[in-house]
């Protein structure tokens, strides 16, 4: 089977999954009762009307975690090809990767020492 066919299949499955998710919603639209009222479509928070802005700016800590995530995700992008071709590379590749991992670990240790990893 050629490679492109496989990705076409993935695309078909994607379409199927979207259809599978939308089909019950369609059935609901046909079958289920719909009695709209003003108080029913209020935001459900705790019984009284919601006050203040909901779509707020969020804390910087989330952003810092996202940055850390990006760093380590890019790291895995480098590690995956290394791991796949490790068998053909030899001991030198191991030493190279240990150096790379050490640099990353220093980065993680720096973030740790700076208190970035401490959730407050």
């Amino acid at each position: 089977m050629l490679l492109i066919y496989r990705y076409i299949l993935v695309g078909l499955l994607l379409l199927g999954a979207i259809g599978f998710a939308l089909a019950p919603l369609l059935v609901v639209a046909l079958v289920a009762p719909s009695k709209r009222s003003r108080s029913k479509s209020d935001i459900y928070e705790c019984g009284v009307l919601t006050t203040g802005e909901t779509w707020i700016k969020f804390r910087i800590q989330y952003f810092v975690y996202a940055l850390l995530f990006v760093i380590f995700d890019v790291e895995t992008v480098f590690l995956y090809p290394w791991a796949v071709s490790y068998g053909g590379l030899g001991l030198f590749a191991l030493i190279e990767m240990v150096v790379f991992l050490t640099i990353l670990t220093i980065g993680l240790a720096y973030a740790w020492a700076k208190g970035v990893l401490q959730w407050v």
Partner: protein, 438 residues
């Protein structure tokens, strides 16, 4: 060239020359399997969880609808379909609709690359088209050469779905839950991905079918010290990835109602529910394929040596391997139920600490251990068959390293952690009034 090879070659050429109608029929079978069987499995997983949780709490669980409550999932589905769909007035209604769809698509697509059984024998060709060996083709929907990368990419779509849900609802609890969820998902994705790297290293491929083949030849990856550590890391971070207890902070009902799906009712909530259990099934399949040998039996070549070109043997081998795969997945899922019934929910700061201060360093060190194991056992010759001596050396070197690493990380955290004896209130500047309120 034996009969199996001829058969497999014929199969391969047949495959390419299939007329379009056959293709459509085959695709329909695939769709039936995908969108018929998996939702069924998930529905009965919910029933199984309710029964198991009930037993853990000394209750009986669902027993009214049908024998042993077996029709309960159907009744639940009917109830969800007949419920009114309520979208809050202030919500972003398009995104509100999109969010459960994204989540469900992500959960479904993960299952596309999972090999559920051995499939048939397939010749392996080198670049010149020469047959250099055989491998099991795997009972898989799509065998992608970059399967694991695809799987990681698709499963991280769920963070997007959850955030869309929380943001679009315009509910403060939803938004809090979604932000917690995204922080948790991205944090635990790092150790999850790091835990797969030893497997890729040993199998030399990202294809899940090749990974299963490697385990059929060289034994399950869980039976090595680095493999066991990676399995633990993957299991813990998978439980966190699917937002299940003790990591269910994003939907902690005692704090933020239901988290990101507070504003979802009826079938849209049902889709969230389905997606959650589908991803539980997905991560269980992933753990089984990566570490527990997929459909392979332990310490034996048994189902594989039955494989020949006869249809009966093909059916028998696949039935056996799918059966063994199912048993492993059931045990894995039961482990998740057990953990949920046993452990209380974690606190949010401990949750994040656990990912970044325990799992990530262990994951990084474990890559080096996996490379050492590779040097000890496999060497760099692809035709080398490891002896008992090689495994012994591997165990003798990596087991102490793994133990030292785990103990070392725990000790390091003990030393570096803020003082445990001082209560939280003492570390914060407090005023008189707030201490009275507290």
């Amino acid at each position: 060239m034996n009969i199996a090879t001829v058969w497999a070659l014929q199969f391969d050429t047949l495959w390419l020359s299939l007329p379009i109608r056959q293709w459509i029929i085959w695709a329909l079978w695939l769709f039936l399997g995908f969108f018929g069987i998996f939702p069924g499995i998930v529905a009965y997983m919910v029933w199984g969880e309710r029964k198991a949780a009930a037993r853990f709490q000394d209750r009986i669980g669902p027993n009214r609808v049908g024998p042993l409550g077996l029709l309960q999932p159907i009744a639940d589905a009917l109830k969800l379909i007949t419920k009114e769909n309520i979208v809050p007035r202030d919500a972003d209604y398009r995104v509100h609709l999109l969010a459960p769809v994204v989540l469900l698509v992500s959960a479904f697509l993960v299952l596309a690359v999972i090999p559920f059984g051995f499939g048939w024998d397939e010749p392996v060709q080198d670049a010149a088209g020469q047959v250099i060996g055989h491998r099991l083709a795997g009972l898989v929907a799509v065998d992608l050469p970059a399967g694991l990368l695809y799987l990681v990419a698709v499963s991280s779509l769920s963070a997007l779905g959850i955030f869309l849900a929380g943001w679009s609802s315009r509910n403060k609890y939803s938004l809090l839950g979604a932000m917690r969820a995204v922080a948790q998902l991205v944090s635990y994705e790092v150790p999850q991905v790091l835990a797969t790297i030893p497997i890729i290293l040993w199998a030399g491929s990202l294809s899940l079918v090749t990974i299963v083949n490697q385990q059929v030849d060289f034994g399950w990856f869980i039976f090595t010290p680095p493999g066991f550590l990676a399995f633990c890391l993957l299991t813990i971070s998978s439980i966190a990835e699917v937002n299940r207890a003790p990591f269910d902070l994003p939907e902690a009902e005692s704090e933020i109602i239901a988290g990101y799906h507070t504003e979802y009712s009826g079938m849209r909530f049902g889709l969230f529910f389905l997606a959650e259990y589908l991803s539980v099934f997905g991560v269980s399949c992933l753990g089984t394929v990566l570490f527990l040998g997929g459909g392979a039996f332990p310490f034996t070549d048994f189902p594989r040596n039955l494989l020949s070109d006869r249809t009966a043997s093909l059916v028998l081998v696949n039935a056996l391997t799918v059966g063994s795969f199912s048993i492993k997945v059931i045990l894995y899922v039961f482990l998740m139920f057990w953990v949920r019934a046993t452990l209380p929910r974690m606190r949010v700061d401990r949750l994040m600490n656990f990912a970044w201060k325990y799992l990530v360093p262990l994951g990084i060190i474990n890559i080096v251990f996996a490379a050492i194991w590779y040097e000890c056992v496999f060497g760099h010759n692809p035709y080398y068959i490891p002896f008992f001596r090689d495994y012994l050396y591997g165990w003798l070197i990596t087991l102490p390293l793994v133990v030292i690493a785990v103990v070392g990380i725990i000790m390091l955290n003990r030393v570096l952690a803020p003082s445990r004896t001082a209560p939280v209130s003492a570390r914060r500047p407090t005023t008189r009034s707030s201490s009275v309120l507290r």
